[in-house]
Chain length 172, copies 2
C-alpha cells in the first residue's frame, strides 16, 4: 500500500569509502529537523549498505540528475555484496569533506551525514543522520533549486513496470 | 541545508476527527517498511497536529492533486490551534474506515495510519504509522500510479518564494 505515496524522489545513498564505494538507489529519504539539521533514510535490513553504514557511522546522500539514469538503475538493481557494481558504472567517486563515505562528482548535490541515531522500523533500519557538509552544483545557488535546468529523478513504482521520471516520463 | 533534497512531494496530514478535522501540509513523509507496512512523518514539536496525533494515536496521509493547491497552501500556512482553517477550505472531510482521523473526499488517496512508535528527531517528532486501510481513486488502480492523469503536488522550497509544482511549475 506504499505505492500511494509514489512517485517519489530518488537518491543515491553512498556508503563505504573512496577506495571501495557502495552506492545504492533509495527513495525512502526524508528531512527530519531544521536545528540540528537531520535527515532520515530507511535501508532494508538485509542490505549490504546497512552493514556498511553501521560499521562506519556515516553516509552521503547524492542527488542524481536524469542524465545519470543508467547508473541510478544499476545502483538500485545490483547488490554490492555480490558484485562490484561500481565497475559497471560511469560515476566518479571523490573524497567527501567531513565523512569517510565518498561523494559522486556527477551528482547535483552531495549531502554528507554522520549517523546520530538509528531505529528498527519493520523490515528496515531507519538511520538518522546529521548533515555535516554539503557540496552542490550551481543548480542550488539560490534558496530554491533551479528546476528549470536541474532535471531530478523520480521513481514511479515497483514491480515489472519500474519507471523513472524527471519532468517528463522516461520508460526504461 | 535540507533544501538540497527539494523539490519534494507534498501531502496533507489529517488529524482530529470528522467533527473537528485538522489538515496540515507536510513534505517530510516516507515509507519505512514493506512488512509490516509502515510510514513515517516528521511533525514540528510545537505543531498543533503533533498534539492531536499523540492524543488520538492515528492520522491520515491524504494525497492532494494540483487542483487542491489553494487548500494545500492554506493547510500549510495557517495553524489549526489559532483559527479554524477548515472553514476557509473547500475540502470535504469524510469518515475513514479504520481510524478516527478523517479522510478527504477530493484527494487521490487517503492512507489511514495507526501510530505504532514515535521518536524525537531534533526539533520534530517522527511518528511511525502502520497503514491499516487505504481508499484511492482510479489513478491508483494499477501497480504504478497513473501520472498521465494524476497531477500530484510538489514543493520546491521554503522562504518567500514558496512555490508548488506538478508536472509544470505553478507560482502562487
Amino acid at each position: 500500500m506504499l505505492r500511494y505515496l509514489y512517485p517519489m524522489r530518488t537518491f543515491l545513498i553512498v556508503a563505504g569509502d573512496v577506495k571501495k564505494p557502495n552506492p545504492m538507489t533509495a527513495d525512502w529519504v526524508t528531512p527530519l529537523s531544521f536545528n540540528p539539521q537531520l535527515v532520515g533514510i530507511a535501508i532494508g535490513k538485509s542490505r549490504y549498505t546497512r552493514r556498511l553504514i553501521e560499521e562506519q557511522g556515516d553516509f552521503v546522500i547524492a542527488v542524481p540528475t536524469i542524465e545519470l539514469l543508467r547508473d541510478v538503475w544499476l545502483a538500485g538493481s545490483v547488490s554490492g555484496a555480490r558484485e562490484n557494481k561500481v565497475e559497471r558504472m560511469s560515476l566518479t567517486f571523490i573524497k567527501s569533506k567531513k565523512v569517510k563515505a565518498p561523494s559522486i562528482k556527477e551528482c547535483a548535490a552531495n549531502i554528507e551525514c554522520r549517523v546520530v541515531n538509528s531505529f528498527e522500523t519493520g523490515d528496515h533500519i531507519f538511520f538518522v543522520g546529521e548533515i555535516v557538509n554539503v557540496t552542490a552544483s550551481d543548480a542550488f545557488k539560490n534558496d530554491t533549486p533551479d528546476i528549470a535546468n536541474y532535471k531530478f529523478v523520480m521513481h514511479v513504482g515497483r514491480g515489472p513496470n519500474f519507471t523513472y521520471q524527471s519532468d517528463e516520463l522516461i520508460k526504461l
